[in-house]
């Protein structure tokens, strides 16, 4: 049984399937998310697959400051993702509502509605930062059901130049270098 758990943990870390959801984003972060799957950044090396259905996904990637229209939809889609699951907030908008702060059309930030595991700040974040954020979320996800912990939010620092490994000294969890 212990061996099976170990294998499951290993496989979960190497097979994060993501579902992308736009919660009122300006399309900037959406383009960067797709760019992270392109030949230059190639997230499929980590086993990332962009899925068409939230039922298939492990990681929910949300972009945009949550608009009133999107607030209910986000919760529906979060409910449709089967556990164990993780949420990655991509861009500054879901983290802080960014330049849209105090707008009457916004019901953000995202943390008001869902437990967020990883924030990837940036306006928009670089594709390698997004890849790093997804890899971090996969590592959180791998341990999730084994020790039943609740969501612990982690900030992925803005990656300056191509560091998407997640092991560097400057890439420690909880630090934001903005």
């Amino acid at each position: 049984m212990k061996l099976w758990n170990k294998l499951m943990c290993y496989c979960r870390r190497r097979s994060p399937w993501i579902f992308h959801m736009n919660a009122g984003s300006c399309n900037g972060c959406d383009i960067e998310l797709v760019a992270s799957l392109s030949p230059r950044y190639d997230a499929e090396q980590l086993g990332v697959r962009l899925e068409g259905s939230p039922r298939h996904a492990d990681i929910l990637c949300i972009t945009g400051p949550v608009t009133h229209n999107a607030a209910k939809a986000i919760q529906t889609v979060y409910g449709q993702v089967c556990g164990p699951k993780a949420v990655v907030a991509i861009g500054s908008c879901p983290a802080t509502t960014n330049v849209f702060i105090d707008s009457r059309t916004i019901d953000g930030p995202l943390e008001k509605h869902l437990p967020v595991d990883v924030f990837v700040p940036g306006c928009p974040p670089r594709p390698d930062a997004i890849v790093q954020g997804v890899a971090r979320a996969a590592a959180i996800l791998a341990e999730r059901e084994l020790n039943k912990s609740t969501a612990v939010s982690i900030m992925v620092p803005i990656v300056e130049n191509g560091c998407a490994c997640g092991d560097g000294a400057e890439c420690k969890a909880g630090e934001v270098q903005q």
Binding site: C11, R14, S15, P39, E44, R49, L50, G52, H56
Partner: protein
């Protein structure tokens, strides 16, 4: 002692032992499941290389399978829920059965008409996909199922006519006999028609409209999650092995050494997988009317020609 008496009292026919060995060991489950994962990896890797990417690691389909086994599924109740759980199991079982019927090893036994059983078993997974989409009651699933049904009606006419022309030209419906007979010109025509049908059968790119990713979410699979989805992935991989294996047994030269026969079978299947993946990554998805027109107007003519010439040859001989 008791065991011996029991065995002596109920002697197991050798045919059943061979059949079980073929279904469970080679080319059945023990060989086919790793081969299915390998072919799924080759497909993804070939597409990645064609796009100038590095692509997924070698064990990726295995990781995906294990991960999906550990995920939860939404609660399903009633007859609809039971059916939804049953379809992927039936698909895996029939695809594995189809692989088990392939006469890979020389003199592995078979029966007259196993070609017809193989065709039926190859068709069952796509029937299950149609039924699964409709029983999931998701609007995207229903669209995907309707597309799969239309696609299946289009390519199957050509697929079956191609097989029929091969069988009629060689006077047998037994796979073993077909694999041993020297190939004629008509067989190669039939094999070419089979190759044209394979992308539609495996939902590959020019004809990938049933599961059109992102366009109609995931088509018939939209509502599936966790272990059930893992079974669908496995049945897709097994379909790869069975469909490419069918072509490989028809193409492969007849050899008596068993290990050489197995090696040739794997090599030809691998070549076909590479060919199909390259075509898939080089083409875009066709619309449903273009696909139907392709099979009914263009390919069908050649298939009918193949069948009629096979029948004429048979009358003459």
């Amino acid at each position: 002692m008791n065991m011996t008496i029991a065995l002596a009292a109920f002697p197991i026919p050798a045919g059943i032992v061979t059949a079980l060995a073929r279904f469970l060991i080679f080319p059945g489950l023990l060989f086919a499941v790793p081969a299915a994962w390998f072919f799924l990896w080759v497909e993804r890797k070939a597409v990645a290389l064609m796009q100038g990417r590095i692509g997924p690691p070698f064990m990726q389909p295995f990781y995906d399978f294990i991960k999906l086994l550990g995920k939860s599924t939404p609660p399903r109740s009633g007859i609809g829920g039971m059916l939804m759980k049953a379809w992927p199991m039936i698909a895996v079982a029939s695809a594995a059965g189809a692989v088990g019927l392939l006469p890979v090893l020389p003199a592995s036994g078979g029966f007259e008409g196993d070609l017809i059983l193989l065709l039926a078993l190859l068709e069952l997974p796509s029937m299950c996909i149609i039924a699964a989409g409709f029983s999931s009651r998701s609007i995207f699933g229903e669209i995907g199922s309707a597309r799969e049904a239309v696609l299946s009606v289009s390519y199957n006419v050509v697929f079956l006519l191609a097989i029929l022309s091969i069988a009629a030209s060689q006077h047998t419906f037994s796979l073993e006999a077909l694999a041993q007979l020297p190939p004629s010109f008509l067989r190669y025509l039939g094999i070419a028609a089979l190759l044209v049908c394979l992308p539609a059968k495996l939902h590959l790119n020019p004809f990938s409209l049933p599961n059109a990713e992102q366009e109609i979410y995931s088509g018939p699979m939209t509502e599936y999650a966790g272990p059930e989805l893992a079974m669908w992935e496995l049945s897709h991989g097994l379909e790869w092995v069975a469909a490419t294996g069918l072509v490989a047994t028809l193409v492969a030269p007849h050899v008596t050494l068993w290990w050489l026969a197995a090696l040739i079978f794997v090599a030809i299947s691998f070549g076909i997988v590479l060919l199909l993946s390259a075509v898939a990554s080089a083409t875009a998805r066709l619309a449903i009317d273009t696909t139907v027109r392709f099979y009914w107007q263009i390919t069908l003519i050649f298939a009918v020609l193949a069948v009629s010439s096979a029948l004429l040859l048979r009358l003459r001989s």
